[in-house]
């Protein structure tokens, strides 16, 4: 082990801020890259699924202008 104590490890003889900034930014950016790539993949799969979704059949489709409404309005 190159350090006597945990605080010496954190301080790195005064170079701590430099070393830890580098490691933090490294892991942050690699993490963001991974998260972004996973999200893109989910988005593409969701998009393909929407495109493939079967068109709803006649009885499932929400009623457009229907005769019933017109009839009720005539009363």
């Amino acid at each position: 082990m190159a350090f006597d104590s945990f605080s010496a490890f954190l301080a790195m003889d005064g170079h701590g801020p430099y070393v830890w900034t580098c490691y933090a930014v490294f892991f942050l950016l690699m993490g963001v890259m991974t998260w972004w790539s996973l999200r893109q993949r989910r988005a593409v799969i969701a998009q393909q699924r929407r495109r493939m979704a079967p068109t709803p059949s006649a009885d499932e489709r929400p009623a457009a202008a229907s005769f019933t409404r017109i009839e009720s309005s005539q009363d």
Binding site: M1, A2, F3, F9, M12, D13, G14, H15, G16, Y18, V19, T21, C22, Y23, V25, F26, L29, M30, M33, T34, S37, L38, Q40, R41, V44, I45, Q47, Q48, R49, R51, M52
Partner: protein, 247 residues
């Protein structure tokens, strides 16, 4: 031979291979990288000249190394795109360019933070640093050009030409520390000589380089799969695959 070549170019075949490889790449890559970093941070001895700031090397060198080799891989893929019109080669170039940009930025950033306590300055316009900055802009250029042209084929060709023109920069980066007087120290690893540092320093460094290489492989597979899913959305195998995931 040509059959293998054709198979390699088939997005469907690649998708399957990538799926089997990815867990191994991620686990082995993370294990190697973490071993290298913990070894380098906690157990490797201090540098007699630079003190502890040299511990940045365990992420600086892997990032810089990958930044350049990703570009070389992209150049090979660009050549394949132009000569054989292989779809998968272009998928690689577009999928990987942002990863290359992030790695180049990391190399520049960690280098700047390392430079402050070591050289007394964050940045200097010397050959190594400037050519790395040009590499970053090349990556940005590739990303922007790919996004700007909507037609898949003309986009692929334009990007491939840009990547191939930019490859001139790679030998400049590599030899900048030898051709010019620079603040940057010479290469840590050379194929022909033993490293000038003790084994307790270069072994963890080698581990983290290999680890980051494997993690890049994982990211490349993941991102290429995404691009394939988006591009091949109309083929039957992609439709079946997406449907299978749903259930």
């Amino acid at each position: 031979m040509w059959q293998i070549f054709h198979k390699l170019g088939s997005p469907k075949w690649f998708f399957g291979i990538a799926s089997t490889l990815m867990p191994w790449l991620l686990v082995a890559g993370a294990a190697l990288l973490m071993t290298g970093i913990v070894w380098g941070l906690v157990f490797a001895p201090q540098d007699y000249l630079q003190g502890n700031s040299y511990r940045i090397i365990f992420i600086h060198v892997p990032s810089a190394f990958l930044a350049q080799s990703v570009y070389i891989m992209m150049a090979v893929a660009a050549l394949v795109t132009l000569v054989w019109r292989m779809k998968l080669a272009d998928v690689f170039v577009t999928a990987v360019a942002p990863v290359g940009a992030v790695l180049t930025f990391l190399a520049l950033f960690t280098g700047a933070v390392w430079g402050k306590p070591t050289w007394g300055t964050w940045w200097i316009w010397d050959a190594r640093l400037t050519s790395m900055l040009i590499l970053l802009f090349l990556y940005f250029g590739v990303m922007a050009l790919g996004a700007a042209i909507s037609d898949e084929k003309s986009s692929a060709r334009a990007v491939a030409v840009l990547v191939l023109v930019g490859v001139v920069n790679i030998p400049i980066i590599k030899y900048s520390v030898e051709w010019w007087n620079t603040l940057h120290q010479p290469a840590t690893f050379k194929l022909t000589e033993k490293p000038s540092m003790p084994a307790e320093m270069w072994v963890p460094l080698l581990l983290s380089v290999l680890g980051l290489y494997l993690i890049f492989g994982w990211l490349a597979c993941l991102r290429m799969q995404t691009h394939i899913l988006a591009r091949e959305g109309r083929t039957r195998w992609v439709k079946e695959l997406v449907q299978a995931r749903e259930n």
